[in-house]
Amino acid sequence: MIPQQFEYSAPKSLDEALSLMADGGKLLSGGMSLIPMMKLRLAAPDRLVDLGRIKELSYVREQGGALHIGAMTTHHDVETAPSVRAKCPLLAETAGFIGDVQVRNMGTMGGSVAHNDPSADYPAALQALEAKILLKSATSERVVTADDFFVDTFTTALEPGEMVREVIVPVEDSSTGTNYQKVLQPASGFAIVGIAVRLRKAGGKIAMARIGVTGLSNRAYRATAAEKALEGTSGSDAEIQAASALVIQGIDANSDLHASADYRKHLATVYAFRAIKAALGRTA
């Protein structure tokens, strides 16, 4: 219940935070994962750099056909921001599945993404959205794709001294239909499996399909084989079924008390079908 001692600073600007981090500080955003870990003494950083006071990190901005979401934007803000709901509904829908009300009030986009829990919700949506993640250090700035960013369990493309600055997702038009389906680990509320689907129809055919999967393996991934199988079809149940079976292709599935590897894989195919159907129903 009681964390180890640490030094604390709460910079008011991004530059200040980056320089403190460069000196070995661990970033604290919403703290919804980090603080419980510190209380169980599974994490014991010497120095915490609290991003909570940096106003410039909390925003949703539309710019160049994309939504830019600042790292300190809370899940609740993502879930409820009119711009996200209208222009990137998949992300808003996914945010609503994270944790519980209190967690969504504190937890942030940047914190969740940087933590990269393999059963977190956002990564599935960010994969399906082909999101870009802006990383910033005291000396550099770079953009990586979601697929490159989510490397492995609790491991990302972040280099020492780098932080997640913002997440960039496409502005969708009404021809795009999306859906997020989640099987909850009933105790913790994390995803046993989460499937994010994003489809566009043109001329009666599925012109574009993007499927992000979380919870199933060591990292959230794009089910590209399933996407390809779906594209060009009319989206009949049989076609969706065939594509859904491919979301687990080549995947070494997690196994734990709450779901064996076989069951997880099975759930992934079932929920892929449901998510694809739902997304298809939402295409204009």
Binding site: G31, L40, G99
Partner: protein
């Protein structure tokens, strides 16, 4: 190593020097003596410690007091105004929403958040609105009824 912080809790400003690792719940309970919010777990899953931070329901066991420097906190003790119970408190009383009472302050704060954001929630919305709060006594039914009653009381 302590740091000075100032928090406005239930309308009163408090300045104290605290260790950075001091959890908000311990600040409220042990420094300010506001023992209404409780600690029921250490994994942020029970919600017994729920308070309002700048108008948002948060789990005060998963925050450091230093993070709240300058913030406004509302706890269960500050909910009644001029001796008049908040309508959610009144509804919990009328509908038997509390048994052992340990989860109750957090449950009431979470319920208030539901109604602040959605004046007429459905049963499903209420159940999801309190999914971050565990109660071992009531089976939740009387809590759901209490939130429904509180919603009706404003109407």
């Amino acid at each position: 190593m302590t740091q000075p912080i100032t928090l406005t809790v239930n309308g009163i400003a408090h300045t104290h020097s605290v260790e950075p690792r001091l959890l908000l719940i311990h600040f409220l309970r042990e420094v300010l003596g506001l023992t209404g919010s409780h600690v029921g777990c250490e994994t942020s899953l029970c919600g017994a410690c729920t308070v309002e931070l700048n108008g948002k329901a948060v789990k005060s066991c998963s925050m450091f007091a230093v993070q709240c420097d300058g913030a406004k906190v509302l706890t269960i003790e500050g909910l009644a105004e001029d001796g008049k119970l908040h309508r959610v408190q009144e509804a919990f009383w009328n509908e038997h929403g509390a048994q052992c009472g340990f989860c109750t302050p957090g449950m009431i704060m979470a319920s208030k958040q539901i109604l602040d954001r959605n004046p007429n929630p459905t049963e499903t919305e209420i159940r999801h609105g309190i999914e971050g709060n565990l109660c071992r006594c009531t089976g939740y039914q009387h809590i759901v009824k209490a939130v429904q009653a509180a919603a009706a009381a404003r109407a």
